[in-house]
Point group: C2
Chain length 237, copies 2
C-alpha cells in the first residue's frame, strides 16, 4: 500500500513496517531533507506523486510499504496492565486517525476497531494520525461487545464514554488495573449492546448549550485523565 | 451570511443571531422535522441548497443570518472570573470549529482569535463547531501578545500550551482566578512573543514516539483539566 504525507511517511520509515518500505517519491525540496538521507528517494513532480497515491493530500511525498500489520485483540489483552482504546463503528478516517494519535501519545497498549461498518487503517488514517499508527498496535474485532466480555474475562474493566443517566463523571473512577476505554461514533454514540457490556459509563460535564463534545476532544480529555490517574497510582507508595 | 449543516442551523435559530434568520431552505425529509415547526421553511433540492451555500457539506439545510457577532477582547476580560481560550494564528477552520465547540462545552467565557493569518468564523467553522459558536463569545485581537498583556493588567494569568523546556506538566497549576489558555497552530505551536507573554507554559505528557498531540485533542485534555480544577476550587469550603 502507499502511505503519503510528511509525518505519515517519516513514521512509516521508523515504525513496524519500516523494513518493507520501497522507493520514496518526493518533490525536489523535500528529497534533500536530512531525515531522508539514508533512504532511496526518487525526485518526482507533485502530479506524479498525486497519481501514485491517489490523493491530493500527499504534501509532496509518498512511499510504498506492506499492508497495515494488525494484531489480534487477544494480543492487546496480553499486556501486563492493558490500557486499551476501543472504537465502536467509528467511520470517519479523520476521527480514527486523530484518536489513534492521542492513544499513541498517552502510551495506550493498543486500539481495537470494528471489522465492519468502521474505518480501517487506510492511507488517509495514517496521514490524519500523523504516523502514530506505525507505532501503535491496532486490532480488529468482529464483535466489539464480545471483545469487551473477553476483556472482562482477562481482568480488564471497561469504561464507555456516553451521555447517559447511568454515567458517572469521568473523574470518578481511578482507572487502576487493566482498562478498556470505549468511544462511539460521533453523533450516534455507543450501540446499546456495547454500552451494556461496559462495566461503567463515564461522561464529560457539559457546561454550555451544546449537547456533546466532538469525539476527538472527548478522547483527548478522557484518555489524558486515565493516563494521569494511572500515573498517580504508579507513583503512590 | 449563509449558515449550513443540521447542527449549525439549529443552533443559529436559537443562538445570538436567531432574530436575524431569514427563510430556511431544507430538503423535503428535513423540512417536516419538529424543531423546524415554528420557522419559515422552503423545501428545496440538494442542488439548490448547494448553490445557495456554496458547499457540499450542507446536509440538506441552510439559512441566511446576520454576520457573525464578534465581541471585543475587553468584553471577555470583563467577566467575573474569566476563563478565556486564545488561539494563536489557528488557520484550519476545522480546528477553530472543534476548539470552539470544546470551549463552549467547558463553559469558557469566550475565545480570542487573531485578526490576521487566522481562520475567521465562517460558515465552515459554524458547521465544524456543531453550532457552538452561536452560544459562545468570540473576539478578534489585532495582536495576541498585546491581548495577553491586557489580560494580565486585568488580573488574568495566561497559560500557553507548548512543548518546551520551560513548560510544567499541565496538571501542576490550579488554574484559579481569571485564566487565559493559549493554543498555537498545529505543527507550528505558539509564536515566540506570544509564548513570552504567557505567565506559564504547560505541556501534556507524551508517552509514545509521536512528538505532539493534535490541537483538538490537546484542547480537550487541557480545557477539561482547567474546568475540573476550577470546579474543585469552587466547591472547596
Amino acid at each position: 500500500v502507499i502511505v503519503y504525507g510528511r509525518n505519515a511517511v517519516r513514521e512509516a520509515l521508523r515504525g513496524r513496517r519500516a523494513a518493507s518500505a520501497g522507493e520514496i517519491l518526493a518533490i525536489d525540496s523535500l528529497a534533500r531533507e536530512p531525515w531522508l538521507r539514508d533512504h532511496r528517494v526518487r525526485v518526482a513532480t507533485a502530479e506524479v506523486i498525486e497519481r501514485a497515491c491517489g490523493s491530493r493530500e500527499h504534501q509532496g511525498i509518498c512511499v510504498e510499504v506492506a499492508g497495515y500489520p494488525y494484531v489480534s485483540p487477544g494480543e492487546l489483552l496480553a499486556a501486563k496492565t492493558p490500557f486499551i482504546v476501543a472504537l465502536d463503528e467509528v467511520q470517519d478516517p479523520q476521527n480514527l486517525g486523530a484518536i489513534a494519535r492521542t492513544a499513541e501519545c498517552v502510551g495506550a497498549s493498543g486500539v481495537v476497531i470494528c471489522e465492519r461498518r468502521a474505518a480501517a487503517v487506510t492511507a488517509a488514517v495514517c496521514r490524519s494520525s500523523a504516523g502514530a499508527v506505525e507505532h501503535l498496535r491496532i486490532a480488529r474485532a468482529g464483535n466489539l461487545a464480545d471483545f469487551l466480555l473477553q476483556a472482562r474475562e482477562a481482568g480488564c474493566w471497561s469504561y464507555g464514554a456516553a451521555i447517559s443517566e447511568q454515567a458517572v463523571d469521568y473523574t470518578t473512577p481511578d482507572y487502576r488495573g487493566g482498562v478498556v476505554v470505549v468511544f462511539g461514533a460521533e453523533g450516534r454514540g455507543l450501540r446499546r449492546r456495547v454500552a451494556e457490556c461496559c462495566d461503567q459509563l463515564v461522561a464529560m460535564p457539559l457546561r454550555g448549550r451544546i449537547g456533546s463534545l466532538n469525539v476527538n476532544a472527548a478522547a483527548g480529555a478522557l484518555l489524558y485523565e486515565v493516563l494521569h490517574r494511572r500515573a498517580a497510582l504508579d507513583s503512590a507508595p
